[in-house]
Amino acid sequence: MNKEALLLQGDEAVVEGALAAGVRFFAGYPITPASEIAEGFSRKLPQYGGKFIQMEDELASMACVIGASLSGLKSITATSGPGFSLKQENLGLGIMIEAPCVVVNVQRVGPSTGLPTSPSQGDVMQAKWGTHGDHPIIVLSPSSVKESFDLAVTAFNFAEKYRTPVILLLDEIVGHMREKIELPDAAELTIYDRKRPNISPENFNPYEETEDHIPAMPDYGQGYKYHTTGLFHDKTGFPGGKTEDARRLMDRLMAKIEDNLDDILLFDEDIREKDNVLVLSYGSTVRSAISAVNEARDKGYNAAWLKLKTIWPFAGDKIKELAENVDTIIVPELNRGQLIREVERFACGQANVIGINKYDGTLIKPEEILAKIEEVE
């Protein structure tokens, strides 16, 4: 029997995906084009016994979400560019204290107020480097309504598994467009919950160095009485005052992501051995990219596509390998060229890397990508 199909926006699919992943807390602040996410959670969370709160600003929302995570709930916030800028300091704290949570950024054109209702991929570098200091981050970028659901589930699984904030980077097109979607049953989904300690409070170190680099995390109120700080700290959670502690913690924070790239790097591809032009895309530009590649193949061109669902950490090794097999990599982006810098870095001159860039709030059309394929072939 066919399931009932729903007609949902990407923003609404994020709500459904997060709920399927077990989210029980949302804190946020209204902003276009992400407000539908807050509205969705305000309606749905109480039905699940969860909590919704509209905070006084974006900084407070990020803080509130981290607090709720420490109390033991799967927690999420959603915003767009201006709000994403404001969240950065507390996002850094979340990374430092290893608080699992999900931050949705439905990108609009910036800087500043920019073009509030128009799509952009201008926050790609900010998502990686927005908070100060070195730090790891996982950023997922859906290209459709269904993927918004799926990657919302994945974002929570990564947040819980790797004990870290995860950014779900939509853009206005994906956030606002409506598509038919069939929501999977709970039994079809794999849901991951954070590792909680199974030892007595007396023997517990909140930032114990373990083989997988991921310390167990108790909920507040379970008697562990542990300390958490944004200062560099040792395994006890307290600043030990040794420079070596800073290095050890930073290396562990990086290692828990870098040692698990096989699990974290998500992508889809259609690459044939004979293909010599690759279109690499993510987010809403994927749709035009795939359409252009299909049309190019119909015309006899040897074109291929790669869709990155995980954009940070960057799939560098994958790009390195592909660059040795194709002549040209085309990177369409709704910005002045951000992820293309990483592509160039890993292509190491082995392939010609060409951008197609729009940053005026309009989208990249399939024919623009097709024209570029025809030009380089």
Binding site: R24, M55, A60, C64, L93, G221, K225, T228, G230, F238
Partner: protein, 275 residues
């Protein structure tokens, strides 16, 4: 009989980092006494702080403790409390942390009347960064960033929080230590947003630049300028001018109007409708 305050302290983290003569230690030990008298379950109590001298208090307290970012302790505490209303949540903040960079969060915490106990250590200066003026530095006082005298007006934080919707508002000083214990006990037992401002002397970065060379001078200043709320209303207006009231300034017992209680009502109502 005095209590065993060490039960509530992480002894291995002492001595604290605060300067000799600082009032923060006195206030912290009285907060502990208030916690003990209020009968809070140590395992079910979370203490949250921001940045500054006050922010370091959480490191010494043997509870679940969270040292956050500058000014944001209240929203972190709001998330902790709303996610699990069974927890007692205490915020320790300072005058810079709580009334400057975190001022907006303070008034919105009050407005929600969420069951937090916010203890604001008011040393009238940015102590940790060595003496810049805060919103609580008196007009005319000298600070490293007000070498010619501070032209800003101060907040009356008790009037501010009361107006913003806090249902328990009190003030104390590090000199009036015994009264402070009572105030903390009452504030911790109050169901709703409790705001407690406590003057805390900073001889190093406030006193010595403002005619008070040591902690004793500063404690004497508190003694001479603080007036118990019970006698406050009987004072002539011109006498009130350079004085301030201490004690429980305002209390409105409306436990059903507490934020997490109201949210639970929504959950109950919605779940009933859905089923």
């Amino acid at each position: 009989m005095d209590i065993d305050i060490y039960k509530y302290l992480r002894e291995d983290k002492l001595p604290h980092i605060w300067c000799p003569g600082c009032g923060h230690g006195t206030i912290l030990s009285n907060l502990i006494r208030g916690i003990d008298r209020a009968g809070l379950d140590q395992d079910k109590t979370v203490v949250v702080s921001g940045i500054g001298c006050s922010g370091r208090a959480t490191g010494y307290l043997n509870f679940d403790t969270l040292h956050t970012t500058h000014g944001r302790a209240i929203p972190f505490a709001t998330g902790i409390k709303l996610a699990n209303p069974e927890l007692n949540v205490i915020v320790i903040t300072g005058d810079g942390d709580g009334s400057a960079i975190g001022g907006n969060h303070l008034i919105h915490g009050c407005r929600r009347n969420i069951d937090l106990t916010v203890v604001l250590l008011n040393n009238q200066i940015y102590g940790m960064t060595s003496g810049q003026y805060s919103p609580m530095t008196p007009t005319g006082a000298t600070a490293t960033t007000a070498p010619y005298g501070n032209i800003d007006q101060n907040f009356d934080l008790c009037e501010l929080t009361k107006a913003a919707g806090a249902t328990f508002v009190a003030r104390g000083t590090s000199f009036h230590a015994r009264q402070l214990i009572d105030v903390f006990e009452e504030g911790l037992n109050h169901k709703g947003f409790s705001f407690i401002e406590t003057y805390s002397q900073c001889p190093i970065n406030f006193g010595r630049r403002n005619g008070m060379s040591g902690p004793v001078d500063m404690l004497n200043w508190y003694k001479e300028h603080a007036v118990n709320i019970k006698g406050w209303e009987n004072l002539e207006e011109d006498v009130k001018e350079d004085k301030f009231p201490i004690g429980i300034i305002y209390q409105d017992n409306r436990p059903d109007d507490e934020y997490t209680v109201r949210y639970q009502n929504i959950i109950d109502k919605v779940q009933k409708e859905v089923n």
